[in-house]
Amino acid sequence: MSKTRKLTMAQAIAEGIGQEMARDASVFVMGEDIGAYGGIFGATGGLLEKFGKERVMDTPISETAFIGAATGAAASGMRPIVELMFVDFFGVCMDQIYNHLAKNIYMAGGNIKLPVVLTTAIGGGYNDAAQHSQCLYATFAHMPGLKVVVPSNAYDAKGLMIQSIRDDNPVMFMYHKGIMGLPWMAYFEGSSSEVPDEPYTLPFGQAKVVREGKDLTIVTISQMVQKALLAADELAKDSVSAEVIDLRTLVPLDRDAVLKSVAKTGRLIVADEDYLGFGLTGEISAIVAENLDTLKLKAPVRRLAVPNVPIPYSRPLEQFVIPQVGSIVEAAKALMNARLAAAAGA
């Protein structure tokens, strides 16, 4: 019987990587500051000491070269884990990510495997401004060929990491800085959780109902799951019963979980820290809209996300553009009073 301990999400990710490295000699890690530093956000903490420099490789600041090298090494039988320090830095190396890593399997007619896990830090909330605070998971989910994993807590993160490493396809593993449990950045307590010490996997494409409710559904992901849970606590005080769905992976996406919950509650809020336009909130809303021939809504769909501005630096500005617990509560209360035009006219 496996025992559990409370771990931060960073510890859980590093433990998952380490257990796979111990199990499979073809797994190795490379990236900037992932060795002695243990990853700027702790995702590779302790691995250098255990596995040495040949398997835990600090790289030069050359994302095109080392992410492209991960693709080449994977095509040659290795299973690299490669870290892009902040997702915002994709601009310097996107060609190797989306023109090669994401497309080569398809252009090869499925005749090659590319088991690469590309880890990257996402998210704001700590005043790091427009080039170090984005989520951008929808950008990567939009382009075919990458699986996109975005955990909200330590337990999920370990299982999803091991699943990612064992997958023969490229996986973007995107962890929010504000739930890693770092000693130098405020984080949501709920993101640290009991984690079995044994290795385990969580399947992709299976959302989790993290809180059951009957009045409305909040579909979300990543750090926003923790905010949604706090919002649900608040709403309960006003007798509003919110169901919270953690999508956990965007590619593949668990459409059924969304539809099932909305069928039950009849109301949907999509809460997201990525940009509003052309993103996750639109995608989830469209899935619901496409199913209105069978699905019955009691109110219009509501979307909370960053309102198509770069992430601002100043605290009041940043807190305004990123949805907060309070904004979810407010939107939910308003939604309980909203009516469909057809119903209002009746």
Partner: protein, 337 residues
Amino acid sequence: MQASKEQLLWMFETMVAIRHYEETMANVYLEGKLPPNIQKGLAFDIGSGPVPGEMHLAAGQEPVAVGVCAHLKKEDTVVGTHRPHHFAIAKGVPLDRMTAEMFGKATGLGKGKGGHMHLFDPEHRFSCSGIIGASLPPACGAALAARKLGKDWVAVAFFGEGAGNQGSFHESLNLAALWNLPVVFVCEDNAWAISVPKSESTSISSVADRASAYGMPGARVADNDAVAVFEAAGEAIARARRGDGPSLLEVKTDRYLGHFQGDPEVYRPKDEVANLRKNDPIPRLASLLKRQGLMSDADEAEIVARAKQRVADAYEFARRSPYPAPQDALNDVFVSA
């Protein structure tokens, strides 16, 4: 390093096959693309005919491919460019499935999903990319994998002189030298980055000189000659195989055709190609083989006939092959995990 008789004959036959392959493609490519069988008012229709899309041919650049690949084993990795046929043929990629890919057929290397700039043959460790400078990073990765697997395999990245100005070139050379990777970077200097001459794109005359900035050996072969490339590449590949690290090799070569088929080549002096063809590497190698008594006229005729037959068979295979079912477009985004 001197080429053996077998190596010289292999290089000759492979160059003949490449040349014939590219000249055949130049003709096949035009099928269905010219008036009167296309939309009225067009001079050319890139999307029509049995081989649609862009087409970049390597006639004239054969020495680079054969001079390097003569040293390679099946397990060695080659990453080519948007102009990839000569590398693929020299690396042993099956001609029939490669040609079927360009015809967009279900029997193609990528089941018709890649086309001529995106040829993937994992068995022969060959791939290529339509993006300039994109070959170098994955070649570093293949070399890194070889070292981690404890094998003496090497990786070769081919790229053009225009790619020597991409960030990926500089990042990759630094990484390879830093990590002492068994990789050889081979620059094909065909003098033209589409329409821009090297003198107007590159700050120094020899890309190979940039090797010194990264602490690796650099050499330039100034002659479009298979034997000269063979000798220079032999040293670089042996060095990589020994574990002594990467090298940069630059070869002056000649592009006989346009950047792509249909290129009006308004930028190029009228008599340039005619002059380049006077130094055609294929007859040069033939006469060397004959001077040294390694090939008779009859041998040559047999070799040429054999190479042409291989090419003809590949085109025949491609034409006879079926197209994929349209809905197959939805498959192969991911392999089953």
